[in-house]
């Protein structure tokens, strides 16, 4: 996740102090991603060095320093918002690996492995859903984060369902002979018969 850009976004609303930025960052993301003060000041220092943000006053340091976004910072923020994250190459997913491996370990019931993961995922989803009933009702930032997490977990359960069905089907279907390219003359003969 890009902490520098989120800080720039908060500064785009107006000049702010470091501590204030941390509070607003956490509040805006439903307090799901905690951020420590050190990380905030380190990031602000880097933004300042790169000319994306500037602080008023020179001698003062630490919590007394107020930061504001620069025109270059605004450009960087606008560009970041529209840059699509790299989703092209599949991540090496641990769960996918486990299912692939379980399918070939002798004496292992891959469906049981899948079910164990499914139950765990649902329990996680149930916990996230409880947030929708409580805190997330009045906290838009948290509601959005909870939705994102639920959709992500939902996608994993769907993959497990698909894997489950595919593996069952593969187990009951007779092994298909290796595909042989259809001999051309036979195709011709079929065509001729019609």
């Amino acid at each position: 996740m890009s902490v520098p850009h989120v800080l720039l976004a908060l500064l785009a609303e107006g000049p702010k102090y470091g501590l204030q930025l941390r509070e607003e960052f956490e509040a805006g993301t439903g307090e799901v991603w905690p951020l420590n003060v050190g990380q905030v000041y380190k990031t602000l220092g880097r933004l300042e060095r790169d000319g994306l943000a500037e602080s008023d006053g020179t001698g003062q340091d630490g919590p007394q320093k107020r930061f504001r976004i620069t025109p270059r910072g605004e450009e960087a923020l606008a560009a970041w918002l529209r840059t699509t994250p790299d989703l092209t190459s599949p991540p090496r997913d641990e769960l996918v690996m486990k299912v692939l491996v379980a399918a070939r370990v002798p004496g292992t019931d891959v469906h049981e492995v899948i079910q164990a993961h499914r139950v765990y995922l649902f329990e996680l989803m149930q916990q996230w859903t409880r947030l929708k009933e409580g805190e997330a009702r009045d906290d838009l930032g948290l509601a959005l984060v909870v939705d994102a997490e639920l959709f992500r977990l939902d996608a994993v359960t769907r993959w497990l369902d698909a894997a489950d069905t595919r593996l069952r089907r593969a187990a009951t279907e007779p092994a298909r002979p290796a595909p042989v390219p259809p001999p051309v003359p036979q195709l011709r003969r079929l065509g001729a018969r019609r």
Binding site: E31, V32, P34, Q115, A116, R118, V119, L121, F122, E123, M125, Q126, Q127, W128, T129, R130, L131, K132, E133, G134, E135, L150, F151, L153, D154, T157, R158, D161, T165
Partner: protein, 254 residues
């Protein structure tokens, strides 16, 4: 497979609103018989929402129709509020259906010629409750679902989300104990579907027991427990989840 693994569950008949014990359902005759349910145990307490998840043909809907006394099991027992359905006279069973059980269907099933309040009060009126009393209970149910201001509207004047709220009001009206829902969010979008689940869960928090059949994991996640069905058997269950605060402990999720 007879190990007492994911299929078994502890049941306490005293507090169960719904109890299924070793329920089998077979359609047709051997050799072409279809085994829809193969020995299901399920117990749902007052105040609890249980979601039943499973692929098509897993027996989800059969389980619901048997729980709602609309079909009889081939083998096994069904108890509603501690009363066994087997051998119950037809009249009593029908009364139980009207007074104790509420149904929510995928396509809402509201009667187009009746207003929202008439739809909501219908089960009570069918049960012989005097019209003013039934309407008062209907209005209370509409209020609980936030659609009291639509009381005089006809279904075709309402949005999909409102229609489903009326349907839920009809399912909880009066003093119902058991709510049975089959894909209750129908074709609603995810935000509206969520709202439907929230309302059903709130009905449970007011003391009803509910069984919700769905194939949507996000909707099932509203339940207090999720039961997984495949080929008519329970293949797993979630535990009652811990509170959400465990998610918000800093550093716990990465």
């Amino acid at each position: 497979m007879s190990r007492p693994g994911p299929g078994g569950e502890e049941t306490s008949a005293a507090t169960s609103v719904l109890q299924l014990r070793g329920v089998f359902k077979t359609y047709g005759q051997e050799p072409s018989a279809v085994h829809a349910l193969g020995g299901v145990d399920l117990s749902v307490q007052a105040g609890e929402m249980v979601a039943v998840m499973g692929p098509s043909g897993s027996g989800k809907s059969t389980l619901l129709t048997i729980a709602g006394s609309l079909e009889e099991p081939s083998r096994g027992e069904v108890l509603v509020c501690g009363m066994a359905l087997a051998g119950m006279p037809r009249g009593r069973k029908a009364r139980l259906r009207r007074r104790v059980i509420g149904y929510v269907f995928q396509d809402f099933n509201l009667l187009p010629g009746l207003t929202a309040i008439e739809n909501a009060a219908l089960p009570l009126e069918l049960d012989g409750v005097a019209v003013p009393k039934a309407r008062a209970a209907g209005l209370a149910a509409l209020e609980a679902l936030g659609v009291a201001d639509r009381a005089g509207w006809f279904p075709d004047q309402l949005s999909g989300g409102e229609r489903q709220r009326i349907a839920i009001a009809r399912a909880v009206v009066g003093d119902r104990r058991l709510l049975l829902a089959d894909e209750p969010s129908g074709a609603l979008d995810s935000v509206h579907a969520d709202e439907v689940m929230r309302l059903l869960h709130e009905a449970c928090q007011r003391g009803m027991a509910a069984v919700v059949v769905t194939h949507d994991a996000q909707l099932a996640a509203w339940a207090d427990r999720v039961v997984f069905l495949r080929d008519g058997r329970v293949t797993g269950r979630t535990a009652r989840p811990p509170g959400p605060e465990s998610l918000l402990t800093p550093g716990e999720i990465r």
